[in-house]
């Protein structure tokens, strides 16, 4: 059998784009397939916060710190085109108890390598002049940054030089007599390769099932609000300390502590809600209303600013809220790079780097044990 390439990456979202980039740079010949256009999945339906501030010490934070360094490197070549802005984050607390908890959390992060500066109530308005009065204080995180996700995915794929095949659906994973991967079957013919990367995001469970393995990726819906363009008034990514609890929550019910951020083009983005309601695409007022309420509490001037539109996406959620990254011992040649929940833009670069290291036979620079794809057992899908 003639090989088409060294690696097939399924999914042209942020994760697939980063896998393609680092694998190509490791000297591999890569084909990226997507049933839709580039960034047509969750990547085109979310926001581009690259956050360390919301992560507690542990494997996800390590991945975020690695990813942050890689983003900084990429910013040198692609910065403007992907709208990279190292603007930093500011997390605020409304009352002294909240501030004490936030400062404890930040102290733990500091020990894990995060730069976190406590900000007194009197200094908050120097950082963010339009914040509501009366807040107890906050913490500034200079490592938080942002990109425009669709541009980032498109330009990473382009910079990789990988072949991009859009409008092409993977319908099967080909396996040889030994059970090892031989490539993929698509609605437009087969692609033959000794390695396949599942970067299908929220649909990663379905792709895993095509290879006969269980990976329980669930959709977690989020709404984002976009305002009319404004002169720059929100300088950092600003959010209230309860956001961290929302992100870490297991609950299926609605959580809506918003992150408020200005964008290069002028609109302010307010996002995002979190709820597990399956793939329900219909508009729902309660989450959007709660986002508006949260944002206007942080920045009262936003009351008179118009929301131009709202959109929604489905985060790829795994039950322990860690992504699946690395080779699948159940199917030799199959690797996973999906399930990043609400941090898949930020964590994409580190993910791509680790995948490329595995593909080229190097030992990955982070321990992949916490991310191992087989950790959810074998129950049938």
């Amino acid at each position: 059998m003639r090989l088409t390439c060294d690696v097939v990456v399924i999914g042209a979202g942020m994760a697939g784009a980063a896998c393609a980039l680092y694998a190509s740079r490791a000297g591999l010949d890569v084909v990226v397939v997507d049933r839709g256009p580039v960034a047509g999945g969750t990547t085109g339906a979310g926001e581009g916060n690259l956050l360390v501030s919301d992560k507690e010490p542990g494997p996800e934070l390590e991945l975020a710190l690695l990813s942050g360094r890689l983003w900084t490197g990429l910013a040198g070549e692609l910065g403007d085109r992907i709208e990279y802005e190292p603007k930093g984050g500011v997390v605020v607390a409304a009352d002294p108890e909240g501030l004490a908890a936030l400062e404890r959390f930040a102290a733990g992060q500091r020990a894990a390598g995060v730069t976190a500066e406590n900000v007194g109530a009197d200094q908050l308005h120097e950082l963010e002049p339009h914040l509501a009065p009366g807040l107890a204080g906050g913490v500034r995180y200079p490592q938080d940054a942002q990109v425009m996700p669709t541009l980032a995915a498109a330009h990473l794929v382009r910079a990789s030089g990988a072949r991009l095949s859009t409008g092409r659906t993977v319908t099967g994973v080909l396996r040889g007599a030994s059970g090892a991967v031989r490539g993929v079957r698509t609605d437009h013919g087969e692609i033959h390769a000794p390695a396949v990367v599942n970067a299908a995001g929220t649909w990663g469970g379905e792709v895993a099932a095509l290879a006969g393995v269980h990976l329980p990726v669930l959709p977690r819906r989020g709404f984002v609000l976009v305002t009319e363009p404004l002169p720059p008034r929100v300088r950092h990514k600003v959010y209230a300390a309860d956001y961290v609890a929302d992100v870490a929550s297991d609950s299926a019910t609605l959580q809506t502590s918003p992150v408020v951020e200005g964008t290069a083009a002028g609109p302010v983005l307010i996002g995002a809600s979190r709820e597990r309601v399956g793939f329900d695409r219909s508009f729902s007022l309660p989450p959007v209303r709660a986002l508006a309420a949260g944002a206007t509490r942080l920045f009262p001037f936003l009351s008179g600013v118009r929301a131009m539109r709202t959109y929604l996406g489905f985060r790829p959620y795994l039950p322990d809220r860690l992504p699946a990254i690395g080779p699948d011992p159940r199917v030799p040649g199959l690797l996973h790079a999906c399930g990043h929940e609400g941090a898949g833009i930020g964590l994409a670069t580190g993910t791509g780097q680790l995948i490329a290291q595995v593909l080229s036979g190097k030992s990955p620079e982070l321990d992949l044990t916490p991310f191992r794809p087989e950790r959810f057992g074998e129950e049938t899908v």
Partner: protein, 472 residues
């Protein structure tokens, strides 16, 4: 809002849109037992077709700018009677940004005031969407020059503001609206240098049975055509505008004939001096509110059944929102929708025999509209005329070249991804103006965009919207 004459318990229908469809629906529903709240963004009822000359401008004979003036008088008088009787409440200047479902019934969320900043919420047992359509305009080099207006914009200026937009006009594009616009301009004293339509006359011959079955419609067209002749307006069929010229504002337009494949024949290019160029390429349905409610959209129009019901229980739709076909079709659909809603909300199975006349009219006019739609198509290769430096999205100033690069270099394949990569459609109009053009340039089918907010809404309003509803 309480009605004196009908029990508080009789069901309430909210009709959104006071054009022909919404007015016909309101009258039928009120006559058959419902209380109706009619909500419209405009200061007066009438919609696109019966657009009112603004009071105070002293139009002495508005009927000269309208035909079917008698239809309008009948609707307006009916509305006034029902309002006086307390069966209908007409909320003017109410811009609906969203309709939401409650456990039982609906909330219509509107904005009022000069800045559309004050909230108003209307609760009803059912809603009828009669939001009409908006004009489709395709870009060409020079189309952003001052002096280039939409055909409907020119018509609205005539009907609403009674301003003559310019002295020498060219009317161009495709579709049945161009005729009344050209005659309207001519009647108001403009010199119409040409009516340029890309439709191929042979297409009408091929579809003649469906067209011939609507003698009234044909007669309407013939009347307009006769008026064109009387005003000496030259008509160029199977022609298109290639470019608009001018320094600070429009000075001329280049037009050219099309070949059988729909491509411009370069040897036929010629320049026509003009200071107004009214362009239109037909209408697109307003589907935002329906989409937000989760109604099925077929292509670009709201899907309805024989009773004008959408697939969401309690939501009816009528008029151009469900497909474009002219004012008379909108009247028939509105009537049927109002009758169906009245019966169903009163717990009765409606008897379609009660609206047999409207049903027949609807069937014929829909066939007519479909035939017209096929015949009046933009040139097959219009996108080739859009140069790389032509601005396609005016709000965000995105050029044709940027859209093409998003597809060929960055892997976009649909309007949404082009938007995310280029910002085309992210501005104030949210892609209403450029959606068709972007789809054409990207080579993908046009679909209804998702816009859960039909209007921009202040965050302070949004932060409280419908909060009372959830407590029920």
């Amino acid at each position: 809002m309480t009605d004196a004459s009908r029990p508080e318990t009789s069901p309430r229908l909210a009709v959104i849109g006071a054009g022909p469809a919404g007015l016909a629906a309101t009258l039928a529903a009120a006559r058959h037992g419902l209380r109706v709240t009619l909500v419209d963004a405009a200061p007066e009822a009438g919609g696109q077709f019966y657009r009112q000359p603004a009071a105070g401008l002293g139009a002495r004979r508005p009927q000269a700018l309208h035909h079917r003036w008698r239809d309008w008088e009948r609707l307006r008088d009916g509305l006034d009677r029902h309002i006086t009787a307390g069966l209908v409440v007409h909320l003017r200047d109410h811009h609906v940004w969203c309709v939401t479902r409650r456990r039982s019934g609906f909330t219509v969320h509107a904005l009022l005031g000069p800045e559309q900043e004050r909230p108003a919420e209307v609760r009803a047992d059912a809603v009828l969407l009669a939001t009409g359509g908006y004009e489709k305009v395709l870009p060409f080099p020079g189309w952003t020059l001052p002096g280039v207006v939409t055909a409907g914009g020119a018509q609205a200026m005539l009907k609403g503001g009674l301003v003559l937009p310019g002295r020498t006009a060219v009317v161009a594009g495709t579709g049945p609206l161009l005729l009344p616009v050209a005659t309207g301009l001519a009647a108001a004293g403009a010199q119409v240098a040409a009516l340029v339509d890309s439709a191929d006359p042979r297409a009408f011959v091929r579809r003649s049975p469906a067209l011939a079955a609507q003698p009234a419609k044909l007669a309407e067209g013939a009347r307009h055509a006769a008026r064109l002749l009387r005003h000496g307006v030259p008509t160029l069929v199977h022609h298109t505008v290639v470019e608009a010229h001018g320094d600070q504002r429009l000075e001329a337009a280049t037009v050219a004939a099309l070949d059988t494949a729909g491509r411009v024949r370069p040897d036929t290019r010629r320049r026509i001096g003009c200071d107004t160029l009214a362009v239109g390429h037909g209408m697109l349905p307003h589907t935002d509110l329906a989409e937000g409610l989760g109604c099925r959209i077929d292509g670009v129009a709201v899907h309805v059944d024989d009773e004008q019901r959408t697939d969401v229980p309690g939501v009816w739709a009528a008029g151009e929102a469900t497909g474009v076909g002219g004012a008379v079709l909108a009247l028939a659909e509105g009537h049927i929708a109002g009758r169906s809603a009245a019966a169903r909300l009163s717990g009765r199975e409606p008897d379609p025999r009660g609206w047999a006349g409207a049903d027949r009219a609807r069937a014929g006019l829909r066939r007519f509209a479909a035939a017209m739609d096929d015949a009046y198509a933009p040139p097959a290769h219009w996108a080739e005329q859009v140069t790389d430096d032509t601005v396609v999205c005016r709000c965000e100033e995105v050029t044709g070249g940027a859209v093409r690069r998003a597809v060929t270099e960055l892997g976009a394949g649909d309007v949404r991804t082009v938007k995310l990569l280029t910002r085309a459609g992210m501005g104030w109009c949210q892609g209403r103006m450029c959606g068709t053009a972007v789809a054409g340039l990207a080579g993908c089918p046009e679909t209804a965009a998702r816009r859960p907010f039909a209007r921009p809404v202040p965050l302070g309003v949004l932060a409280r919207a419908g909060s009372a509803d959830d407590e029920q």
